[in-house]
Amino acid sequence: MGIIKTKNVVFDYIRRNEEGDVEGITTAVKDVSMDIQEGDFIAILGHNGSGKSTLAKHFNAILYPTEGTVWVNGKDTTDDSKLWDIRQEAGMVFQNPDNQIIGQVVEEDVGFGPENMGIPTREIWERVEESLKAVGMYEYRKHSPNKLSGGQKQRVSIAGVIAMHPKCIILDEPTAMLDPNGRKEVIRAVRALNDVERVTVILITHYMEEIIYANKVFVMDAGEIAMEGTPREIFSQVEKLKQLRLEVPKVTLLAYELKKSGLDLPDGILTTKELADALEQKG
């Protein structure tokens, strides 16, 4: 069993009117089974309302399945006695950087998680230092979070999660509110965590370019897993992604357009280098 495993997970939202009477039931997640191995870099794509955030909230026991089971590192998330272990092992980073920072000083904010876990003070400081170094924010440790850019705030949020020594980090559209530079900083930090620290990463995003380094991609639609494969396999299916309200990276799209007009190029080109290499082979 992997670090996060879901089996036939269904989640129903019960909609109520103003009087509190049940108006209807919406099934946001339908029969999702996945098994994520330790050290994986997983990406989850899907249009607005496809159920990806609802699913992600099951990965650290913010939501519980209506049917089916979710295990985090072998622990059933509905087991109340394991709740704190689960939240420590699977940490979550959300979209809005301003909603996640509580400390007056960067290092205090990062220390908040381990402090709540009852870690001895000395070790808290060690963890704060290594976490801030891992995301490249150590030199800002004495700064006020208010004065940081969006990308820097998100990296502090990530450090706050890492300081709890999780096995898995779930990022729900962490770059949606950032400018191009901030987006790059955050993705670089996330990749380094996965490469160097071997932390399992689950990245939810609307930016196709951010996931070309993932080792597996799930595409959700109407609460179900509609596609599953490597980035290359997924991005080879340009038309299908369009039907699912998604797109492919610009490089992939350009290669696809060239291919359609008769230039014989391989499917699923993901980077500028790959495209240039493929064109070079043509002469």
């Binding site: 899907g46 249009h47 607005n48 309302g49 979209q95 850019s149 969006g150 990308g151 559209e173 949606a176 509110m177 950032l178 400018d179 191009p180 530079n181 901030g182 609307h206 196709m208 370019e209 369009k242 309200r245 998604l246 797109e247 990276p249 610009k250 490089v251 799209l253 350009l254 357009e257 060239l258 007009s261 230039l263 500028t272 280098k273 495209l275 240039a276 064109l279 070079e280 043509k282 002469g283």
Partner: protein, 283 residues
């Protein structure tokens, strides 16, 4: 008619050690009917600039003229200005509040003191302009999808019949199809009504695809003001400001570096496909 900014500077913390020039000597002429892209990293002064255009912020020094009149003259009606220069904020759906979609869109024109018939006519037209089907008119705006809510919020501004429409990152947080829909809508509005559009964006690819003119802000100064191709030829300067060129421009630069005689002055996918075919066809 035109909006003119004459040596506009905006400072906060004036007279203290912490004095910051959020806008530094901006000179700008915005004629009727242009589609303008405004880019710059977070904190570069973009939002401060757009808030000057409809008089939400008063410059520390310098003047702003709308149709030849100084907007901060005592006899100038700010109320009228704000109906003529419509500003759609970031995440505008957070500002929806009425019990149904139609009433929400009526709110703006109602406050202009128009009679009920005219208010409803405008609301109806605005909702049609943003492509919302009649079946949603009497639903609660909170029951709509993210993309639909955003269109309702835009309709609320359109119902004021603005001559200039400013959109602050209208695609933030939307899925790829949602982004295309909003940008397609903006482009259609501009063609149909001839209104001036100012699009604040973090996506170089989007501005390259849609606008006629780009303004680049950095540290409160207007660094570039030119047509997209010319602006994006300054790749190094843009990168030093935390921005970038469109992705296809980098592809063309890579091909050029490898010795192919391609034009690097290419900013959209269709131009790039055409250019690569031209060069490779001759082989």
């Amino acid at each position: 008619m035109a909006l003119i900014l004459d040596h506009v500077t905006y400072e906060y913390g004036t007279g203290t050690e912490l004095k910051v020039k959020a806008l530094d000597d901006i000179n700008l002429v915005i004629p009727d009917g242009q589609f303008i892209g405004l880019i710059g990293h977070t904190g570069s002064g973009k939002s401060t600039l757009v808030q000057h255009l409809n008089g939400l912020i008063k410059p520390t020094s310098g003047n702003i003229y709308y149709n030849g009149k100084d907007i901060h003259d005592e006899d100038f009606s700010k109320k009228e200005l704000r109906s003529k220069v419509g500003l759609v904020f970031q995440y505008p759906e957070h500002q929806l509040f009425e019990i149904d979609v139609f009433s929400d869109v009526c709110f703006g024109p109602k406050n202009l003191g128009l009679d009920k018939k005219e208010v409803e006519l405008r609301a109806y037209q605005a909702l049609k302009q943003v492509g919302l089907e009649d079946e949603y008119f009497y639903q609660s705006p909170f029951d709509l999808s993210g993309g639909q809510k955003r269109r309702v919020a835009i309709a609320g501004v359109l119902a004021m019949k603005p001559e200039v429409l400013i959109l602050d990152e209208p695609t933030a947080g939307l899925d790829p199809k949602g982004r295309d829909e909003i940008l397609g809508l903006v482009s259609k509005l501009r063609k149909e009504t001839g209104m001036t559009i100012i699009l604040v964006s973090h996506s170089m690819d989007d501005v390259a695809e849609y606008v006629d003119r780009i303004l680049v802000m950095n540290k409160g100064r207007l660094m570039f003001d030119d047509e997209p191709k010319k602006v994006f030829s300054h790749v190094e300067e843009l990168e030093s400001m935390g921005l970038a060129a469109p992705q296809v421009t980098y592809i063309m630069m890579e091909l050029k570096k490898r010795g192919y005689p391609v034009d690097t002055n290419v900013i959209t996918i269709s131009e790039a496909a055409k250019e690569i075919k031209r060069v490779w066809a001759s082989k």
